[in-house]
């Protein structure tokens, strides 16, 4: 665990303790289970966003993809009677194709990630609304998919399966990001794409893969959300979710310049965000202030983190003056 992650964990515990002290309902099983479910749902696609942010990119179409795949999935299994495993597999494939398209537009055609995914945000939302004629998609009365329901909204020992799914995926993605060759390439590309290319890293493929991972995790989240809400109105379903994902990553220590971040960080970021939402409810803060609270906490958090970083660097610089060579260094040398 990095120092940043520990700091975030401490913050979460402190906030949790304060909220629990003011309103003990925070620790009630029902409230914990609800919050855990939301952490699972939002954590899933926040992890995906993290991969894209490490490359120095951004994925803005997350919310729209959740809406589009949500209506498609529910419509396929509820209206057309497609077996749900087949529908689920199809959603993952569509997700992968969306990520592939974004990645190729960015690497091959040299478009800016912000623009590509902003257009994605508009396009997928538009298609979702057109597909349903702006209506709500849902299940017929009495229609149920016991296995799917158990998998997505069920609980084991009181723990929501969405949280378990998120933790399992987080564990896999932790290995991918922090232990695999691909993860090493991701960090190198995010830090210095040019130097990575000079070292033989297939930079284009690495970036495309990051967008595919993001879109597939978003597709998984879309299924969970669809089963959680049961009825989807495509004009509002998933609105602003990309911003939650970006906020979680930033809180978790990711740099939007790329090359920095950790899976534990983004998961803790998602935890903190959901706790803040919960806190607004429990402390009787007007729910209209929800976003304002989130924004303020992120702003203060990132500011404190930067100040702390600068302080640490100053201290480190004071402790280690040089590595024994600087005294003989010529004028052209820049440190």
């Amino acid at each position: 665990m990095q120092k940043k992650d520990i700091g975030l964990l401490v913050l979460i515990l402190v906030v949790g303790a304060v909220v629990a002290f003011i309103n003990p309902r925070f620790l009630s099983p029902i409230n914990l289970a609800n919050t855990a479910n939301l952490i699972g749902l939002f954590g899933l696609f926040a992890i995906g966003q993290g991969f894209v942010i490490i490359t120095g990119g951004i994925e803005l179409s997350v919310g729209s993809v959740i809406a589009l795949l949500g209506v498609l999935f529910v419509d396929l299994i509820a209206t057309y009677g497609v077996p749900w495993p087949a529908a689920l597999a199809l959603m993952l494939v569509i997700g992968a194709l969306i990520g592939l398209a974004h990645g190729l537009l960015i690497t091959r055609l040299d478009m800016q990630p912000f623009i590509v995914t902003l257009c994605g945000l508009l396009i997928y939302r538009g298609i979702a609304r057109w597909y349903t004629a702006d209506g709500t998609v849902g299940f017929a009365f009495g229609q149920s998919f016991p296995t799917l329901d158990w998998l997505t909204i069920g609980r084991t020992g009181g723990v929501p399966h969405s949280l378990i799914a998120m933790l399992v995926i987080a564990a896999i993605m932790w290995v991918v990001l922090h232990r695999s060759v691909f993860g090493r390439y991701l960090f190198a590309v995010g830090k210095n794409e040019e130097a990575a290319r000079y070292a033989g890293v297939p930079t284009g493929k690495v970036i495309v893969a990051a967008y595919v991972i993001c879109a597939v995790l978003t597709a998984i989240a879309a299924i969970f959300f669809a089963m959680y809400t049961k009825s989807i109105s495509p004009s509002s379903h998933g609105n602003f979710y990309e911003l939650y994902a970006i906020a979680a990553a930033v809180l978790g220590g990711f740099s939007l310049r790329g090359g920095e971040g950790s899976i534990i960080g983004v998961v803790l970021g998602a935890v903190l965000l959901q706790m803040l939402q919960n806190l607004v409810n429990l402390l009787g803060i007007p729910s209209s202030l929800n976003f304002a609270v989130m924004g303020s906490v992120i702003l203060i958090g990132v500011l404190a983190d930067q100040q702390f970083d600068a302080y640490r660097r100053r201290r480190a610089a004071a402790q280690i003056p040089d590595h024994g060579e600087t005294t003989r260094t010529g004028p052209a040398e820049a440190h």
Binding site: Y198, E325, T327, T329, E333
Partner: protein, 499 residues
């Protein structure tokens, strides 16, 4: 002759461990064109920095219009009428020519609104452009101008500041023949209107064409002066050479063998009409000399697969290898130590370990998961082998000195099986001790049968390290010198196209 308006009196500049300028005196009279010649590292750029007020001399005085002072600030230099036209032009691509001329000094209207007064701006630019014989409109965006036209914009900017001295640093290095002729005419016009020019160039014919006198710099000292009648390319070369070259040569362990790395008929996008043929033999270090812009880095980039070759092929041990990306080159055992160390050689924000293993981290993995003990062991072995001075392999490369950063670049390649390594300016900005170590490593590689191609603009290095020297001039190999024929003069003559 009238009195000089600007004088340097016994100016010296030393940096820790290096004396960049040593007792240099120079007088600039109104309306004269001074040619300044010298090799890379002779002290030209330090002299320019002192004239521009960017840095102050360690010793000596500067006299402007009779007023003596110890140093100038940038504002003093501008106030004295000193303007620069740099080799890399400092223009804003996204603005038009007129806006660039008056950038930061735009005529305003609208009172507190501070709107740009386009009409007055154009009116102010027009006479300047007329004086320079500019044939494009002041409204042309700079992005649409040729290099020569951009240079005219820079000169117009210098004139708009009522400059009395325009310092041109390699102004013709990227100009075509007609563009160069026009620039020389502009210089003559400047001179006629009483503006002085310091013309720094390696293109000796152009110096001869425009200079009233020539000052030669060598090892930070004034090596000599040439009066108008004495200015010939051979005389200028005599001023430039004769440096104190340290004897750093180490002969190869064995006689050079067959060709390991060959470039056959290679054409790069920069010089589409030229082809390059080169062969580096087993056991030798081939130096590649030439002026900046001669196409050496472009050749290296093409060999390594960064830029696509327009024509030609690369052979390793006689067999052609298809290289369309650095990945292909690395797989074939052809490596590059790039010129831009911080931008392309290392990832500054990653630890030594990650940098060293980056090209072959795939080989250290099982099922895509990096075997960390193996990775650490490799990084540690290479750190020790190359003597990288750092607390551990987890130290960020960005905190290391230039020499140690370069060793990290080398460690990256030496951990693999190199067949040929291209070094592009391997010791630029590196201290003397680390230089020595890098030369020893290159020799060690050559002795081990690796083809070593060393691009260098440092004469001491080219002559002191190479077994043979190929000299490039404007995209082509101007000649290849054997060790027994090495001399500064020969290299320089080939590099400036005097042979």
């Amino acid at each position: 002759m009238t009195a000089p308006f600007l004088e340097l009196l016994g100016v010296s500049k030393s940096y820790p461990g290096v004396v960049a300028l040593d007792d240099v005196s120079l007088a600039v009279h109104p309306g004269e064109v001074i040619g300044l010649v010298g090799e890379n590292g002779a002290g030209k750029s330090t002299l320019m920095k002192i004239l521009g007020g960017v840095t102050g001399p360690s010793l000596g005085r500067i006299r402007v219009d009779g007023a003596e002072r110890a140093a100038m600030t940038v504002a003093d230099a501008i106030g004295a009428g000193i303007a620069f036209v740099h080799q890399e032009l400092n223009l804003f691509d996204n603005l038009d020519a007129a806006s660039n001329v008056f950038i930061g000094r735009e005529p305003l209207k609208g009172g507190p609104l501070k709107l740009v007064d386009r009409a007055r701006l154009r009116a102010a630019v027009r006479p300047l452009f007329a004086r320079l014989g500019v044939d494009f409109s002041p409204d042309t965006p700079v992005a649409g101008l040729s290099l020569a036209q951009r240079q005219l914009v820079e000169i117009a900017k210098a004139l708009s500041l009522d400059s009395r001295l325009v310092i041109m640093d390699e102004p013709t290095s990227s100009l075509t023949l007609t563009e160069t002729e026009r620039l020389l005419k502009v210089i003559a016009d400047l001179k006629a209107s009483g503006v002085s020019v310091i013309f720094i160039s390696h293109r000796l014919d152009e110096v001869r064409a425009c200079a009233d006198r020539v000052v030669g710099l060598r090892d930070g000292r004034v090596a000599g002066h040439l009066a108008k009648a004495e200015i010939t390319p051979p005389a200028m070369i005599r001023l430039m050479i004769g440096r104190d070259l340290k004897a750093i040569y180490r002969p190869p362990a064995t006689e050079p063998g067959s060709a390991v790395l060959e470039a056959r008929g290679v054409t790069t996008a920069t010089y589409p009409t030229q082809t390059v043929d080169l062969a580096v033999h087993r056991g030798e270090i081939l130096g590649l000399a030439g002026l900046i812009g001669a196409g050496r880095t472009e050749l290296a980039r093409a060999l390594f697969g960064i830029d696509a070759m327009k024509a030609g092929e690369v052979r390793l041990d006689g067999h052609p290898v298809a290289i369309s990306s650095p990945r292909d080159a690395i797989a074939a055992g052809l490596f590059l130590v790039p010129e831009d160390r911080k931008g392309a050689g290392v990832v500054l924000d990653l630890p030594i370990k990650d940098n060293v293993t980056l090209p072959q981290v795939g080989a250290l993995a099982r099922f895509g998961i990096i075997r960390r003990p193996a990775e650490r062991a490799m990084a540690d072995t290479e750190r020790k082998r190359l003597g990288i001075r750092a607390p551990s392999i987890f130290t960020n490369v960005g905190t290391l000195s230039g020499g140690n950063q370069q060793k990290v670049v080398l460690a990256k390649w030496l951990a693999m099986k190199p067949r040929a390594i291209v070094f592009d300016e391997p010791t630029r900005g590196i201290d003397v001790g680390a230089k020595r170590e890098i030369y020893d490593m290159m020799r060690g590689l050559a002795d081990a049968g690796v083809a070593v191609l060393m691009i260098s603009s440092d004469m001491e290095e080219v002559i002191g390290v190479s077994d043979r020297i190929a000299v490039m001039h404007e995209g082509a190999i101007a000649g290849v010198l054997e060790r027994r024929d090495f001399s500064e003069r020969k290299v320089l003559e080939l590099a400036v196209g005097e042979e």
